[in-house]
Amino acid sequence: MTTVKITDLEKEYHGVRALRGIDLEVEDGEFVVLVGPSGCGKSTLLRMIAGLEDITGGTIAIDGEIVNDMRPRDRNVAMVFQDYALYPHMTVEKNIGFALRARKIPESEIATRVDTTTRMLGIGALHQRYPRQLSGGQRQRVAIGRAIVRDARLFLFDEPLSNLDAQLRDDMRAEIKRLHQDLGRTMIYVTHDQIEAMTLADRIVLLRDGVIEQEGSPLDLYERPNSKFVAGFLGSPKMNFIPGTILGRDITLAGGMKLPLPPHFKNAKQKDVIIGLRPQHISVAGKTVASGHAHVPVTIELVQPTGSRSHVTFPLGGVASVAEVDVHDVKSPGEKIALDINMTRAIIIDPQSEKVI
């Protein structure tokens, strides 16, 4: 049973407030992902949980015990670093066994545990190698092995996949997910990659400039973002934001095009808005216009095929927008085509506050 409770956490250094009023509760066995743009404070938060950074204000409690002044070694947490932080002058076996030796565990037990761990991660044959003789993926596995051999109560990951190439990142992401399923431990994971966040998290905590913008399950944040920032951060390709004005039952865009108001939108007073449309909700127009949809004729400017799908760019209301269509529907730039915009899935944003209404 490992829970983490962070209350009103503050971090300030050199006069800069890196974290402000952070409240977060992590339940036993949960996989929580801290995600956000560079400089939002996610790594700082993780390091404060590990004990590598001082706490300016507020408290961090692990399993009900406040750990503010506890040294990292006493917190019983394991951490995987972005640059793996393997000890270059030690073999894989010594790297993984290091923590166990530091706690004076008998050698026989160390051997068994290191063996089990390396076999679990598929690096059983690499015991006597040095980090410089390993590939990126192997080093990553050793770093993870070093964390799990300790049987710690809390696992912290600081952007562990950033240094890997795309293919390897995909593979390792699946392995980490599997690891969580197998071990069932509480894990807190930091990344700037929203795909990692979406695929790995039980719960996402989206940070920006030192505060929590929104937290919830991946689907919650994806389908019900509460601000333009959250809406634009999750989802690939990025959501389209088109400014418009509400006149009657329609929204008028720059250039005169009209789109129907989403049926769920009730705010009568709002005039100037920003429409948030995901590329997945724009498709090639069929014969009929469904209720809440609109057909618009556009000229495609850019075609980026990604396999079975294609990301096409076109101007909408003066904004370069992206739609995700079947790769065979649009072949080349310059094509004139009619697109179906599904306004029932659109979100409406207030331009002043940038909040969703």
Binding site: A50, G51, P72, Q82, A85, L86, A102, R150
Partner: protein
């Protein structure tokens, strides 16, 4: 794209580089060679015209004179004791201080540079006060006195080199050790220190060479008991004229430690010097 650009063209022999290196080698090797043959020439050949390129009757008499009559051997022994002790102290203390500066930002923004700036001080400015203080405390012409002086004298450079070196080692390995179960001291001893060895070796070599060749402080602070090797050379410039043979002999002998050290550790030297510089 013309076809001719595909053909690999012959590299011109780097004449300029060969000439330049050749001249430089001449510059370095000729004096060394001259010094060597002077040390084995009979005295008459020193300033003979035409110059004697290799003596017909080489002799070792200058070596024995330099080492024993002029007490060059005692000077070598004293220098070894003092330089080695000061080097070890300087490397040890310098490493500890540099670690503190690099990891804990001790003294804020300015302490590190202030330590280095001690080297800017001309020795002339402080040698007299130090002489007086040493006399007062009975440290004049003692091993301890010289070791202290040399340690302090080489510490700024040791600290600065190790400081740059530690800054080049990513903190994350020591942090991983902390999370894994080490205290600050253990993480230093088991992780940072082993990785710092090349830097320590480089710093130690610099310190040793500085101590081995130091003349000014040795002149003022030593006398008949702890005189160092460089001070022995003074005796060769007498009223009767210079003892070129003895001076050359002693000079050749004093080259030996530097060459031996340099050869043994040249691999570490380059690594230690550049590692700190490349990382930000």
């Amino acid at each position: 794209m013309a076809m001719t650009s595909m053909r690999p063209h012959r590299r011109r022999a780097p004449i300029g580089r060969i000439v330049f290196i050749g001249i430089y080698l001449l510059f370095v090797l000729v004096p060394l060679y001259w010094m060597f043959i002077t040390s084995i020439k009979p005295s008459d050949d020193y300033l003979a015209v035409p110059p004697v390129w290799f003596p017909k009757a080489p002799t070792l008499v200058h070596y024995t004179a330099a080492l024993f009559a002029y007490r060059g051997l005692q000077g070598i022994i004293n220098s070894l004791i003092i330089s080695l002790s000061a080097t070890v102290l300087s490397a040890f203390l310098g490493t500890l201080m540099a670690y503190s500066l690099a990891r804990f930002n001790t003294g804020g923004k300015h302490l590190a540079f202030w330590v280095l700036s001690q080297r800017f001080l001309p020795p002339v400015a402080i040698v007299l006060p130090i002489f007086l203080i040493y006399r007062m405390f009975g440290l004049h012409d003692t091993y301890i006195g010289m070791i202290i002086a040399y340690t302090v004298f080489t510490l700024p450079v040791s600290v600065w080199m190790m400081f740059a070196y530690f800054r080049g080692i990513p903190k994350s390995m020591e942090e991983a050790a902390l999370v894994d179960g080490c205290s600050r001291w253990l993480s230093f001893r088991k992780i940072a220190l082993p990785l710092a060895i090349p830097g320590i070796v480089a710093a130690a070599i610099f310190a040793f060479i500085a101590c081995w060749t130091e003349f000014f402080f040795a002149l003022i602070l030593t006398s008949r008991y702890t005189f160092t090797l460089p001070t022995v050379f003074r005796a060769f410039l007498g009223f009767q004229g210079a003892q070129y043979g003895e001076a050359s002999a002693l000079a050749i002998v004093s080259l030996v430690p530097s060459i031996v050290l340099g050869t043994l550790v040249q691999k570490h030297l380059v690594r230690g010097l550049t590692l700190g510089a490349v990382r930000g």
